[in-house]
Amino acid sequence: MNVNDAKQIYIGDVGPGVKKRDPILIADSVTRTFGGNTAVNVEHVEIPRNMITALIGPNGAGKTTFFNLLTGFDKPNSGNWTYDGQKLAGVPAFKVARRGMVRTFQLTKSLALLSVMENMRLGATKQKGENIFRAMLPFLWRDQEKANTAKAMELLGRFKLDTKKDDYAASLSGGQRKLLEMARALMSDPDLVMLDEPMAGVNPALTQSLLGHILGLKDQGMTVLFVEHDMHMVQTIADWVIVMAEGKIVAEGYPSVVMQDQAVIDAYLGAHHDVDLGTLTGQLAVAEDIDPHLVEELREEVSADPELAEELAEEQNRTEQ
């Protein structure tokens, strides 16, 4: 919890849309509807600079859509936002990225018939050789290319993809694609990196080591905004959490605070997400915060099956002791 920090993140009362001391991104009344369904309806939100902010919320809350809007991949019905003080609404996606705001995709987009290394190199910005005329004169860009390659190698090592560097990206597994996507985004040294569920499908040990890397990048001045359903990860590295539901920002705050928020727990986390599901009691307990219907079902199941009933009784005995 960053309450102890010398610098406080927000100004005024904590709550949805609270002002930040040093915001990098400010969005105002951004809405997007599909047919009759409002996917995003954000009145005001600020993303603190040089912090790691987690954007959480139930499935279909509008997180990805919000990302799409902010980065110019989708057009809002209304709304305005500024990045680093500059207006960003209506700016095409590639320009958004050039200004230092780089994103990844929830459903990965690897460049299948490019090698992993080429994927990485493509991530680098300000490449001289990307100009068609200079491209014809290799001596103009050869050094830069070398430097990019070295940097890419280093990142790939961290993401455990170094052995795959010459393979086509098409031959990566689901998790590896996620990793490549994130590594590629980091090639551009973004000021603000927006990760859409970066660790979904990545194995826990690797996730853990990557978190360290992200923290390191933050130390170098980078701002991170990420969507994630893995609460361990959110609690480990997020400085700030924003909760979205049904298109709106419904809560904001320090991770530990937000995660104790009853509304958030009800709608999203569940009170018992650390309870062991290996036992019927555990399942019942968890089911309780999800859906009374599920509880009922479980109970029915138990009562219909004497073996299960016995098991449940035993378990309850054990916990009571």
């Binding site: 990805t64 859509t65 799409n68 991949f73 989708d74 995709f105 459903l107």
Partner: protein, 449 residues
Amino acid sequence: MAPLSATAAPLTAASAVEAPASASVRSATIDPASATESIGVWVRLDSNKAAVAGVKVTVTGSGGFSSDVVSGADGKVTVGLPGAGDYTVKLDETSVPAGDGVPRAGTNPRTVTVAANSTGVPAYFLLTTATGGSSTSAPGSTTSPGSSSSDASSGPSLFDLLVPRLASGLIFGLLLALACIGVSLIYGTTGLNNFAHGELVTFGGLMGWVLAGPLGLPGPIAVIGALVLGGVMGYVQDLGLWRPLRKKGVALIPLMIVSVGLSLALRYTFQVIFGPGTLVAPNDTSAAVNWGPVHLRSSDLIGAIVCIVLLLLVAFVLLRTRIGKATRAVSDNKALAAASGINVERVIRLVWIGGGALAGIAGALIGYYQTIRWDTGASILLLIFAAVTLGGLGTAFGALVGSIIIGLFIEVSTIWLPANLKFVAALVVLIIILLIRPQGILGKRDRIG
């Protein structure tokens, strides 16, 4: 060229030249029957083509030739000439019977070029009473293509122009739609842009022709035969070529090229077998219905009805039946379809059979609507693709909508555009619509990210 003065000036360039020449040649008559060159003058009324007798006409030529003649009872008179060359023909307007009017503006006097050995070179005068308003029809004026240049009063109204075109556009659109569905479904289920689909259409047309023509079966049986044989052809193609290729895991673009190769091979095979000419199945080509300016043969009407019925049937199958839904599922995601228990190969085979059958019947109907050639299908392939794309790739209904739009635009555009640009009109419409709706009319966009 001699100046064509509209006024009845007595002197033309030619007659001016003639003045200093010897007078002895004047009015010399050459026997038109024996002359190797002659001019045939014919004076008639513009309105009803009736002959006008007793009109004086003077023909003058170089070397001082001049001949005065008077039109006979049939309005005609032939003038024998001394040789080839330019002659000036002038009608004496004072000799025209009262009320018969004057020659069309700009036609009197007129220079007529007579080539060697030409007899009876026409030099006609059409007398009209409509004086002032004769702004049009100067000889040699280039007329706007595709439309009449004669007086506005006799010109057809926009309605008369539009309605027949709407009718034929609609019929063609429906035929096109039948041909399109196969393309759309095959693209949908297998991702293949089948450039050999035109040949399925041609095949159907040729089979229809064989059945109705050389074999002399009645038309409806020929059409049904084309449907069946088209289905068989689709099946054979899938079995013999596409399925093995799918098994081999050949990618889509190479597959597309295979279809280009197949198209070439089939098309020219048809040519070897059926010859390079246009084939015509026996058909009653007189109009069965005449709705104002619209003339339709019975085969046109029946064809249109068959199209509509079949299209409705296809719609029903796709939307309502299990196999129809399976078709769409396969087109979305083959692996997952298989994982849902759908026999993907079977669905694809059905699509080939169905697509082939529809293409076959479309070909046979096109054979009746137009004619059939070894390359009929290939020549409409682009339209098929355009229609499928316009509607939204892989959506069967899109193909229908697209086809009808294309069919209509091809025909209707000829009201304003030169006919050879009619495809251009349809293609421009295609481009414009795609700019507004890049996913096609009925296509849907998926989300990003």
